[in-house]
């Protein structure tokens, strides 16, 4: 069984199918790119695996265990399962009233508290242990911010960040929770071309660290630069899937239509050692752990 196995995931709203019998296998450390037009079901898929929407049918296996179960899940159960996945939202969704560092530490504080509560420590031990762990986490966050050249921004508020900076903060905030699968929803949609290449670089460096990643995008350049597997969706159905080569040699008419000639050319450039893309492949900045 692959690291992430999704079987026949389905969802419909008001009788209209938005995701139909979606199945995929992903090995640890691989990158899956979902491409397709708006309304093709890409974001629905991300919402389902992050437990933000309830599935109608289907199973999800992660690291050999089924993480979905039949029947109603409580919010807590749903959330516990959702924590296996980390989601970097399209609009980043940083909390505006907190600084960069506070944004990064808020969820980790909750996680640490929950973990320690399960240990049923005395109040004093709890405090000592909590402070010790948070000190380490603070150092870890500092380190990550340094690696993405944002250390001087740790006391800035989200409205003082550029789109690229906000995205890197959102990635760090998610990474700190150590999810098994990292998901990106349209990571390049709000960024200029230079920053788009930085995103590709970031995703590739995360892969180098062994992260399993799912990227939802309609940017062919990004998909061709990072994907190990590509799935093309249309109206909730998988039309074509395979390696990134399907972007160069699409078999279905739907994918051929989707990939305009111009986009195909961009992909070719990406595949022929375009210096910009190569730079994006890991030299701009790195999130690699020590």
């Amino acid at each position: 069984m692959a690291y992430l196995e999704i079987e026949n995931l389905a969802k419909s709203y008001d009788g209209k199918t938005v995701l139909n019998s979606f199945s995929v296998s992903l090995e640890k450390g691989q990158i899956l790119c979902l491409i397709g037009d708006s309304g093709s079901g890409k974001t629905t898929f991300l919402r389902l695996i992050n437990f933000l929407s309830k599935k109608d049918a289907g199973k999800i296996f992660l690291d050999g265990k089924e993480i979905t179960k039949e029947g109603r899940l409580t919010t807590k159960e749903r959330q516990a399962q959702a924590m296996n996945f980390g989601l970097v939202f399209q609009s980043f969704n940083l909390f505006p009233q907190y600084t960069v560092m506070q944004n990064i530490l808020l969820p980790i504080k909750t996680k640490v508290k929950k973990t320690l509560k399960e240990k049923k420590l005395s109040r004093k031990d709890f405090k000592v242990e909590y402070n010790k762990i948070m000190e380490e986490k603070l150092k870890e966050a500092d380190n990550l911010l340094l690696k993405v050249n944002l250390q001087d921004k740790k006391d800035s508020f989200p409205n003082q960040l550029s789109g690229g900076e906000a995205q890197r903060v959102a990635i760090i905030r998610t990474l700190m929770l150590d999810p098994k699968v990292l998901c990106f929803d349209e990571p390049t949609s709000a960024l200029d071309p230079r920053l788009k290449r930085q995103v590709a670089s970031t995703i590739l460096s995360l892969k180098e660290q062994g992260h399993t990643i799912i990227v939802v995008t309609h940017e062919m350049e990004l998909a061709s630069a990072v994907a190990d597997q590509v799935i093309f969706l249309e109206k909730g159905n998988i039309i074509e899937k395979g390696g990134r080569e399907i972007l160069l040699n699409p078999q279905s008419d739907e994918l051929k239509n989707f990939l305009s000639l111009e986009q195909c050319e961009e992909i070719n450039n990406g595949q022929t050692d375009d210096p910009e893309t190569e730079r994006a492949r890991g030299t701009l900045f790195s999130l690699s752990q020590d």
Binding site: L87, F89, S91, N93, F95, L106, F157, T174, L177
Partner: protein, 217 residues
């Protein structure tokens, strides 16, 4: 017959004390009740939300003066219950009325926060309570400050309606002086009392708004 400036001031200050008392108690009680009404009107239970809709329609659709009269007279006339003390009846009616207005402001504030904030909280492992208190609340407060300032100022002025059941607030005190001594300047002098109170409130709310300007919500 004449009255000195000092006596007018003392009589108006006496009325102002009652005005401030009604205002402060009403404002403090209207906030939690407004939160409760807001929660009920956002309830997923359709019966509860429908009842709230009707209740809000009735309270917003009828004059506060009428509501004060209903609270003061109806229990005695209809059920032969002892009437509430006048000031208490006025406060009860004002609290009910303003908690409805506040609840609508809270609801608008809550609904204006992007769904993404709640979803981010969820995927980051925050509990529902943490999402509300640590993520949404401050953003809501920032959003509702301008309408809350307006409503609070209206509340100060609406305390004057308590005179309909003879609560001796500042307007009734002024009216008595004008009626007895036939002097008009007292009315303008009374306006200054209101302007001072409203001015202080405006400054306080502006201060809070300014404090919250450090982030864009």
């Amino acid at each position: 017959m004449s009255i000195s400036f000092a006596d007018v001031t003392l009589k108006l200050l006496d009325g102002l004390g009652t005005t401030c008392l009604i205002f402060i108690i009403s404002w403090v009680l209207s906030i939690p009740l407004g939160v409760l009404f807001c929660r009920l009107s956002l309830s997923k239970n359709k019966i509860i939300s429908k009842i709230m809709q009707v209740f809000i329609w009735v309270i917003r659709g009828t004059p506060l003066m009428l509501q004060i009269m209903v609270v003061f007279y109806v229990p005695g006339l209809l059920f032969n219950w002892p009437s509430l003390p006048r000031i208490v009846a006025a406060i009860v009616a004002i609290v009910i009325n303003y908690s409805v207005y506040f609840s609508e402001i809270f609801r608008a504030g809550y609904q204006s926060i992007s769904k993404g904030q709640k979803e981010a909280g969820f995927v980051l492992g925050l509990s529902r309570i943490e999402i509300f208190f640590k993520v949404q609340l401050l953003q809501i407060i920032k959003k509702i400050m301008p309408p809350m300032t307006n409503e609070t100022i209206s509340l100060v002025k609406d305390t004057a309606l308590a005179r309909i059941i003879a609560v001796n607030e500042v307007m009734l005190a002024a009216d008595k002086i004008v009626g007895t001594y036939a002097i008009v300047w007292v009315l303008f002098y009374t306006a200054i009392f209101y302007l001072v109170v409203v001015g202080i409130i405006s400054l306080l709310f502006k201060g809070v708004e300014k404090k919250l300007n450090y982030f864009e919500g």
